[in-house]
Amino acid sequence: MTAHESVHDAGPSLDDGDLIVFDNVSKFYGEVLGVNRVTLRLEPGITGLVGPNGSGKSTLMNLMTGLLRPSEGSVQILGVSSDVPHALFDHVGYLTQFDAFPERMTGRSFIDSFLRVHGFGAADARRLTEAALERVNLVDAADRRMGGYSKGMRQRIRLAQAIAHEPGVLVLDEPLNGLDPMARSEVIEIFKGFADEGRHVVISSHVLHEVDMVSDRVVLLTGGYVVAEGEVSGVRSEVEERPIQVLVRCSRARFVAARLFEAEAVVQVELHDDEGGLLASTRKAPRFYDALSRLVLEHDIDVETVTVADSDVRAVYAYLIESEGDVQ
């Protein structure tokens, strides 16, 4: 079985000890619904959790990793209950959305220190720290204090911390947020490498396209409910018919816009008033990101932000929800 087979293709050889299992899980914050009656069985490989902001993705991930406790139901990861953290986190790494660090630490000491908290000896912790830093391409900045890191560097150091102990299950909450195109492709290769080794990678995103790039199965969430799960290919063609909007803050925005048009990567571009960025509409997101990456590399463009404009994501998502019957 390959790492990228669908959740629906679960073979009889896999038992609960190989799976991530949500059994009728609900979480309420007082009277507010977090997630409701979620039942899932996730196989090794890359699974995308997709939904708009507030749909319950982070809640589901926090439940999976024991940061939250289910109001009802149970979660098991590789046969270990999520409420037994001391048994769970030998095998699980989690990149949360909390963009904060213990104060005054360098990147290297951050990873090394928490490997020591895992129980690794000094030599092993040092070796794993270096390996993780190399994997996220952050060796050069490792001895700087994290307070001075850019958003992309903070995201990468947190990813390094999540993968440093070589977990069998990697849970990633919006892992591509804040990364420039080059860093995105590097990070995506890391995810694929993990999945190809037969590990679980669970990625959340409010952008279907991001999940599409790395996984071939998704769990669609809205309002705390799982509304669809299955292969991305079944919904991809419908999504591609509708343009998504990408916000780019960069230098030489007018030049970038012209080149994106030339490459037929966009259907519409609005330049920002300060000419320090643009809002692009594209029907071919992979082509758009490829074209943008080439521009950045070949013309020395400084990119501050690349993010999908939220309102449009909501529209795409609403469209997906309306097509629920076709997806499943």
Binding site: G17, L67, P85, F98, S113, E166
Partner: protein, 286 residues
């Protein structure tokens, strides 16, 4: 590389396995490495150090102008007992509040507690290690603070007199007061660590508890015993005169007061550990 090798597969049986004490000790050392640095050199350490060392430094005036009625260190012994009572009741109390309540609360405010919760360290081990780190800092600050207070009180008569006093009852008294400071850190610390877990603003219950401790001499004999200060005062080597309105209660024997305070601290720490096991991370709500 035993740990990496062991992390390739999981099973339900593993979850229910007994404690691996060797692993727990390594993890506790890992937590202590992080926490001791924060407790000794973080922002809160400055406040605690100020509380520990400011009162002795205030005695500089006294060093140059001791009371004429006092002929030597022996005469100043009751004075020191009173000063220590005040030091214990304010500086040590507040210093412990600052250090121990931040053990969990500062991680929650920094939004970094999840890094601990995402490691395979048992919450009990985490709680005890955080407590020990804060205790190291508090014991260091307030042991030195107590010794400095002692020195500043008795040095006006010169080092020769001070040496003779230490050769007599002085050294025993000094050791007892330092021990009392450490014991105070142990007792207050466990309670304040729990406050830091339970309350969004632990200063409020801390101040209420301070009021309770302050009023201790005036409480009925039975209620007196529901405090830390009562047990500590029972161990003072030199009795402290209290207000005429104070209510008398038999002091506790050291053989009851010391183990009692340690047992109380252990119970509170056990409660804090249990609380840590049930804690969830949703910083927005904190």
């Amino acid at each position: 590389m035993s740990k990496v090798a062991s992390s390739t597969a999981a099973s339900g049986a593993e979850a229910s396995a007994g404690i691996d004490w060797g692993l727990a000790a390594r993890q506790a050392r890992g937590v202590l490495r992080l926490e001791i640095g924060r407790q000794l050199f973080g922002r809160r350490a400055l406040a605690a150090a100020f509380l520990a060392f400011a009162p002795p430094m205030l005695l500089v005036l006294w060093v140059f102008n001791p009371l004429d009625a006092m002929q030597g260190p022996l005469d100043a012994t009751p004075l020191f007992a009173g000063l220590y009572a005040g030091y214990h009741g304010t500086a040590l109390f507040l210093g412990c509040l600052v250090l121990f309540m931040s053990a969990y609360r500062s991680d929650i405010l920094e939004r970094s507690l999840h890094y601990y919760f995402l490691t395979p360290v048992r919450r009990e081990v985490l709680t005890v290690a955080k407590y020990l780190a804060a205790l190291c800092a508090a014991a260091l600050f307030f042991s030195l603070g107590t010794a400095l207070l002692f020195f500043m009180t008795f040095v006006p008569w010169g080092f020769g007199e001070l040496g003779r006093y230490l050769a007599g009852p002085g050294l025993g008294n000094l050791m007892t007061y330092v021990g009392l400071s450490i014991l105070g850190c142990i007792g207050y610390g466990a309670l304040f660590l729990l406050f830091g877990q339970l309350f969004r603003n632990p200063v409020v219950p801390g101040v209420v508890f301070w009021g309770w401790e302050f009023l201790n001499p005036f409480l009925p004999a039975l209620l007196k015993k529901l405090s830390v200060t009562f047990y500590l005062r029972s161990l003072y080597p030199v009795p402290v005169s209290t207000s005429t309105f104070a209510v008398f209660a038999d002091p506790m024997s050291p053989w009851i007061a010391v183990p009692g305070l340690l047992l109380f601290s252990a119970l509170v720490l056990a409660l804090a550990s249990w609380r840590a096991r049930t804690m969830e991370i949703h910083y927005g709500g904190d």
